[in-house]
Amino acid sequence: MQTVSLNSVGMTLDACIKCNICTSYCPVSEVTDSFPGPKYAAPQSERFREIGLPLSEAAADPNSGAPGAGHSPDASVDYCSGCRVCNEVCPTGVRIAEINARARARMVATQGLSLRNRLLGRNELMGRAGSFAPGLANFILHNPLSRRLAAVLFGVAAKAPLPRWHHETLNRWLARTRAQRLRSERKVVYFHGCATQYYEPFVGIAAILVLEHLGYEVVVPPQNCCGLPMLSNGEFGAAEGYHRRNVASLADYVRAGYPILGTSTSCTLTLKEEAPELLDLEDDAGSQSLKFATWDIFEWLRDGLDQGQLPSDLRPLNRTEQPFILPYHAPCQLRAHRIGKPALDVLARIPGLDLRESHARCCGIAGTYGYKTEKYQIAMDVGAELFDYVAAQAEESDSVAAGSVSFTACDSETCRWQLEHGTGLPSLHPIELLAASYGLYDLQARRPADGN
């Protein structure tokens, strides 16, 4: 059940002036007829959805005989990828993507949730399960037969870029290297997110190395999934449980004034805004304190840069004289932070780095969206704008003098996997580049420069 107040995101539909700017920018409705567009789905359709449904048993019970009982009036809203490009371009501040997310949650509340979407929402569980035997898990998940089975049985697209378990979780690396970790009076908290914990611990390692290089002790308290995959799949009740547990486990650090830094722009966005907003927790003190304590790591680093606190021992990433050309995509979830593009601001300090910003609207994957069989092609079509951009940079740079493109960079994990899937190039988190530039990290091997 959703609570409703005049502060709920749904109420922002009052600001819509029907201008259609959102529809003209929407990357999804541009490539598919399944999604009629953000204006139609959010401010327009929301007027035809009853406030707070399903609040009465009659409305939720398909057998009640009440007209419209048991079903939401519209299903096409489920084709919103939640990329939030609409929010970004809306001149009047309608929370379009959030209205859609709540509409989807109402659908789930009345119609139930598919097993596939329940599983996609539980990536923490999946991550943990696989991490006990990563090799076996990778074999089970990544062989063509099981991918085909997963497609047929669950509707998980066979070609979609599922991540691989890393042989060592971030927590195990932390335990193994405990003696080498910096102790300091200056402390920050690191929120790693599920992907870093199980699939890409090297992103977390790079972040920890950079923060320690700055002289901070990095505290990694127990934490769980931020809840976004569940929010995106309309499973609000479970998401609220996850969010409240994070609020509780981080509360002491928040009170102590430690910044909560994250490398996953989607996790940090959830802590900052998505969870409190979608779950109507704007009046929840713990949730609000966490919201204001949470930073995207580059947002925080840029602050340090502005105050002259960032060490300036940045070295070129290439040993040769060639510029290091790096196509960079600011993911939708980062843009939703409305903090500019802090990774670009900081990476611009790396000598010899030729940053190329994509300006593509979305890579298409949008969290769990592109993993669904019925949405895989939509996600790839949306991402084409970005893939083409990367290809153009690579082509342009063929001449020996201009250097080569061997990586892309992006702040969000699923976007990086989609980028790799769409371009064939490895995609890095910007923090890996910064760590490498400080000489702390090996970009090719994606591990600490000292081999640990």
């Binding site: 609570t3 409703v4 107040s5 005049l6 109420m11 539909l13 009052d14 600001a15 819509c16 002036i17 029907k18 201008c19 007829d33 009629p36 204006k39 139609y40 401010p43 327009q44 359709s45 929301e46 007027r47 035809f48 959805r49 009853e50 406030i51 707070g52 609040l55 009465s56 009440a66 007209p67 419209g68 079903h71 939401s72 009036p73 519209d74 299903a75 096409s76 009047t92």
Partner: protein, 612 residues
């Protein structure tokens, strides 16, 4: 002059008039209805949409309470699809007097009006935006009613029973015959507002159901009917704030009703006595009062986007007490109590019970009845009383059948908010939308324009809700004008047969239906014929062949002006921003204020020019 002969002539195409025509036709009378504008143009089309349970009047106006209670049950059967079964809450806010709720509940019990007190927590769970400081909540059978659709459905039922309905026909004179003592009304002369031609209608009996205009109509027969015209101002919010009708549990007063109707919530009303039903200015204090009072029901309502303000006028009537009481008709068939009271000075205090004036008994003029007073909720009962009296005057005995007869479309069940969106989704009609705010498809618009007299775009608004959403015509006006122009230029032959109004608000039905009426067989073969049957829809095909160029311009200008009229009283905040965009579209891009219209006027022109 064209002539026509009928048994019963009904004046007024609101809920009551349509109801009278339906009732009379069902009883086998040859019936003609004339309305000076479009159906529901008057009070019917400007009310908040509340189907009363009767509870509102249990302590103030017992007759009306009883009437509403029984009619509420009947209309749920006869007009099911025009009603959304929202239920109603009567809530006690901190400002409301202490003993009223108990007296209220007792009166409901006494009058057999089902009333259940429910815990405030469950009320707040159902309606999360409701004032959390309410202390008591009573649940009643109030509901929301679509008065446009209901009147159209009643009108179609009347047509199916053989009645002829003539919108845009204004009565200019009543025919009086006989001298002192045996004067009689024998018909009327009406002006076809579209063609400019006069039509003479002979009738055995004329029923004046002109609502707030009843006094003016009666005056044409030299009869003095002093209506108490109670202007009510209402505001619509941009979206629903509750899904239940909310009433304050107190003596009926200003701004104490919040009705969820279609996509909006309507807060109403004021009650100010006015002299002229055409002149209904909306005062700033009235808007302010609605917002202040609205905040007491839904705190923060005043900061929500307000789409529009409008005013309707109640056709209240209270027989002045006179010494020669026996010479006058009774106020209403079962009204007795209020007769002993002083004639009310304020319209708020005037009874809402129906008033049937038999002018033979009252004024010595036979062949003429006036049916007025009442509520929208009691329109069927008003019609029944009027036609009962007509039977008595015509010395026939034919029982009323409307309470047991359903109008076309009831098989759809009660209306629900998501109905249009659901059909758009299931039929994948998203690209067909003309009015995006209210989800009006091209085929809905064309269906309505082809089969219902469409003189102005405002007529289409009443048919399919064109332009009633947030942008108030900003994006649909130019589209609709283009479609109408195209239809007229194509010189399509008028569609044969009845306009199937049962699904006039259904996107899917129109789409499947194509543009061909397959309901010609709806008219019973036995339908009584009239001397002259003008083809009403035909007039919409070509209003004036001389004005091909100015016609679409006129449609555009007048609809924009009409929409603008309702926006000006609430022009702030979000709606101001919307109007600024609409202004840029129409004035800056389309130069709409300089469109050549050849000084032509539509019936809508005078409406938006009047200070109402």
């Amino acid at each position: 002059m064209k002539r026509m002969q009928t048994e019963i002539l009904v004046i007024g195409g609101g809920a009551t008039g349509a109801g009278v025509a339906w009732d009379a036709a069902l009883r086998g009378f040859r019936t003609v209805l004339v309305e000076k504008r479009d159906l529901t143009h008057g009070t019917t089309g400007r009310y908040h949409g509340l189907l009363h349970s009767g509870a509102r009047y249990v302590l103030k106006d017992v007759d009306s309470a009883v009437e509403c209670n029984s009619e509420n049950r009947i209309l749920r059967r006869t007009h099911t699809h025009c009603i959304e079964d929202t239920g109603g809450f009567f809530v006690v806010t901190p400002e409301d007097e202490d003993d009223y709720p108990d007296r209220f509940a007792a009166a409901c019990r006494r009058l057999n009006i089902p009333c259940t007190e429910i815990p405030t927590v469950s009320a707040l769970r159902r309606e999360p935006l409701l004032n959390p400081r309410i202390s008591r909540v009573f649940e009643l059978a109030d509901a929301a009613a679509d008065s446009f659709l209901a009147t159209h459905a009643t009108a179609q039922a009347a047509r199916q029973a053989g009645a002829l309905l003539l919108p845009y026909h204004e009565v200019t004179g009543l025919h009086l015959s006989g001298g002192d003592g045996n004067r009689a009304v024998s018909g009327a002369t009406v002006l076809d507002a579209v063609s400019g031609e006069n039509l003479r209608i002979e009738a055995d009996l004329v029923i004046n159901a002109a609502g707030a205009w009843s006094g003016k109509v009666a005056a044409l027969a030299g009869i003095d009917v002093r209506m108490i015209l109670g202007k009510g101002v209402m505001l619509a919010t941009n979206r629903r704030l509750t899904n239940t009708v909310i009433n304050r549990c107190k003596m009926p007063s200003d701004g104490d009703i919040l009705v969820p109707i279609h996509t909006v919530s309507v807060i109403g009303t004021t009650d100010e006595q006015v002299a002229d039903p055409e002149n209904l200015p909306i005062e700033q204090w009235e808007v302010d009062l609605m917002l202040t009072e609205g905040d007491k029901l839904v705190p923060g309502l005043s900061s929500c986007r307000i789409l529009r303000a409008w005013a309707g006028v109640r056709p209240l009537y209270q027989e002045p007490p006179t010494p020669e009481e026996p010479a006058h008709s009774r106020n209403a068939s079962r009204s007795t109590q209020l007769h002993e009271q002083e004639s009310p000075q304020e319209s708020r205090d005037a009874t809402r019970a129906l008033a049937l004036l038999d002018h033979q008994q009252r004024d010595g003029v036979s062949g003429f009845l006036t049916i007025t007073g009442g509520k929208w909720t009691t329109f069927r009962l008003m019609a029944e009383s009027a036609v009962d009296a007509a039977c008595a005057q015509l010395s026939v005995s034919r029982p009323c059948r409307t309470a047991e007869t359903t109008v076309p479309g009831v098989e759809q069940g009660h209306y629900w908010l998501g109905h249009r969106l659901n059909e758009i989704e299931e039929e994948e009609l998203q690209t067909e939308l003309i009015c995006e705010c209210e989800l009006v498809t091209r085929s809905m618009l064309e269906g309505a324009a082809q089969r219902n007299p469409t003189v102005t775009l405002d007529d289409l608004r009443r048919d399919v809700r064109l332009g009633m959403g947030p942008c108030q015509g900003g994006f649909c006006t130019y589209r609709a004008v283009g479609i109408l122009h195209e239809m007229r230029a194509a010189d399509n032959p008028p569609v044969a047969g009845e306009w199937e109004v049962a699904h006039m608000q259904s996107p899917a039905h129109h789409h499947n239906d194509g543009s061909v009426a397959e309901d010609a067989d709806n008219s019973p073969a036995s339908s009584p014929s009239h001397t002259l049957v003008p083809n009403a829809p035909q007039r919409s095909a070509a209003i004036d062949p001389q004005a091909e160029l100015s016609e679409p311009n006129l449609l555009l200008r007048d609809f924009l002006q009409e929409r603008w009229k309702g926006v000006t009283p609430i022009l702030w905040g979000q709606q101001l921003r919307q109007e600024r965009l609409d202004e840029l579209i129409y004035l800056s891009i389309l130069n709409a204020d300089h469109l050549p219209v050849d000084d032509r006027e539509s019936p809508l022109s005078s409406f938006y020019r009047s200070n109402s």
